[in-house]
Amino acid sequence: MAVDAAGRGPPRIVPVIDREQVLHVARLSRLRLDDDEVETMAGELSGILEHVDRIRGLDLEGVEPTSHVVHLENVLRADVPWQSMPPAVALAAAPEPFDGAFRVPSPQADAD
């Protein structure tokens, strides 16, 4: 590793992400990975998570999480209509425009 500025002692043993988890997360992400990619991904994610895992050991009980550094409230918009796009513009970039709408393959029939 060229730089290990954050290195503090030996890395702790952490559970690595396995094939099954990689496949589950890929499904949630709508990504398709071939077998090699699954293998590589499992290794890389494990390495990153091993580093990231250092924060799991920190005692941060009672600390407020920061999801935002901006402390604004009630930034709202008046209920006044603006001009919408002409349908031709709305559909200009569509991979498959059809009859003024966006055509997509249907989800598979749901019946089990």
Partner: protein
């Protein structure tokens, strides 16, 4: 054999489309029935780089709904992202509220509200039939006009104990929201959508059974029938020793069948997290006051007031409270009648005789409250019989200038009393005309009196006072 000892446990989730002018997070106009994709912009099509800005009016409407449902209003609420892929969900996340909704716990009638939160509606997908097939597989067309419409989702506790009760409560909710003027609440058009969480458990148990979710029933009748069908299915299943599986079901009102909507995909994992593109909503005192002041008296409160203050029974009170215009009219008549009649009697006239009279003709109109009050007073003081009063009313609804006393006079509807002997004579003739009935009455069959009374009423054209006729018959028969 379904086990009817299994108690129904039902909770509802209601999506209310708000009738703001523009969408929740962009300025595109709301519409219904326009050409596809004419109300879209980079924001509601989720083009790269766009950001949402919430519609202030939608916040106001949500506050009104929360207040009408007696909800605690959160001093500070935030939006979350609910992540899932679907063509009608252009960002692949829905901006919704999660652990800190704008409206918390509340109550409508006897049913506890868990929460009411703000979110955005999905777009509309139309499935193409065979004609639109691409190489043998189905296709859908997506129209984003509806995408981003502001929604308030109302969730109840599982406090409902039957299909009819659920449908009735949903009607009360609809009426309540309608009176707020914040939604069209039209189930067929989808501006009100009711999903039901249904489970059963041994009566008296406090534990909850496994629930199923019934989706998108587009009328109250179907809601009730869907829940009934699902309750029956669950009771049969458990009665036969089976178990209920947690799933989402679709009720087909035509066939009465329930079909599972569960997808083959892995269970949903929405990965909620705070929406970083939005800041918190912290309703100001002014915003709260504005919402509070704009609340009309709502059906539940009005019903309670009519029962407590006017002595109406519950059914009558609820009937009036469900129609604010009629309720307002009723209150005006009560005020005009004053001591002249009981509010209960006024309520009967307004919801009964007047409604029937109005239905008789398209041009019929409600008389001025004072005019109806005159009529009710006249009947109560026996100047006109009840039947005569109905005839007067038929004239009043057709002629807005008519005056009660004048109509009574003109139509000769003044009630016949016992003083002038005319009524006594008619009674005597009626007895003479039906000796068999007279004999039955004498021998103790009280019901037979109806035949003689009927004859008298026919003869007098309904002007006779029923009580007086009864008295005269008994007197003349020596009873």
């Amino acid at each position: 054999m379904p086990d009817t000892a299994l108690e129904a446990v039902i909770g509802l989730e209601i999506h209310v489309q708000l009738s703001t002018r523009t969408k929740m997070f962009c300025g595109c106009e709301l519409s219904f029935g326009d050409d596809p994709n004419v109300h879209t912009c980079p924001i509601c099509l989720a083009h790269p780089g766009v950001l949402p800005v919430p519609n202030e009016e939608a916040i106001r409407y949500a506050l009104k709904i929360g207040m009408a449902l007696g909800c605690e209003i959160a001093p500070r609420s935030i939006f979350h992202r609910k992540n899932y892929f679907y063509p009608d969900n252009p960002k692949a996340y829905q901006i919704s509220q999660y652990d800190i909704p704008i409206c918390g716990a509340g109550k409508l009638g006897d049913i506890r509200i868990t929460r009411a939160h703000l979110e955005e509606d999905a777009a509309k997908s139309i499935h193409l039939g065979d004609s639109g097939r691409i190489h043998g597989s189905g296709a859908s067309l997506v129209d984003f006009n509806r995408g981003g419409t502001p929604l308030v989702e109302i969730v109840t506790e599982p406090d409902l104990r039957g299909a009819a009760e659920a449908a009735e409560w949903a009607r009360l909710l609809r009426e309540t929201v309608r009176q707020l003027g914040v939604s069209d609440v039209n189930m067929e058009e989808g501006s009100l959508r009711v999903d039901a969480n249904v489970s059963v458990r041994p009566a008296g148990s406090t534990e909850l059974g496994t629930k199923t979710e019934l989706k998108n029933m587009n009328s109250f009748r179907f809601l009730q029938r869907g829940i009934e069908a699902e309750l029956e299915r669950q009771r049969e299943l458990l009665g036969a020793g089976g178990t209920v599986e947690q799933e989402t079901l679709h009720f087909d009102p035509a066939s009465g069948e329930l079909t599972s909507l569960r997808s083959k995909e892995e269970a949903h994992d929405y990965r909620y997290f705070p929406e970083p593109d939005l800041v918190a909503i912290a309703p100001t005192e002014a915003l709260l006051a504005e919402a509070r002041d704009s609340l009309p008296e709502l059906p539940a409160a009005r019903t309670a007031r009519y029962e407590a203050e006017l002595g109406l029974d519950e059914a009558q009170a609820r009937l009036l409270a469900g129609d604010p215009e009629q309720a307002g009219y009723f209150e005006a008549v009560v005020a005009a009648v004053g001591e002249g009649a009981e509010p209960r009697v006024v309520a009967n006239w307004v919801t009964g005789e007047l409604t029937a009279a109005l239905r008789a003709s398209e041009d019929a109109e409600r008389p001025e409250p004072g005019v109806l009050a005159d009529l009710i007073g006249a009947v109560a003081s026996k100047q006109v019989s009840h039947a005569g009063g109905k005839q007067v009313l038929a004239i009043l609804v057709a002629d807005r200038d008519a005056d009660v006393a004048e109509v009574v006079e003109r139509e000769g509807l003044a009630q016949m009393g016992g003083d002038d002997g005319e009524l006594a004579g008619i009674v005597a003739a009626a007895i003479a005309g039906d000796p068999a009935a007279a004999e039955q009455i004498r021998s103790g069959n009280g019901k037979a009196i109806g035949a003689i009374v009927g004859a008298v009423m026919r003869e007098t054209g309904g002007r006779a006072d029923g009580g007086e006729v009864n008295r005269l018959i008994r007197e003349q028969l020596g009873l």
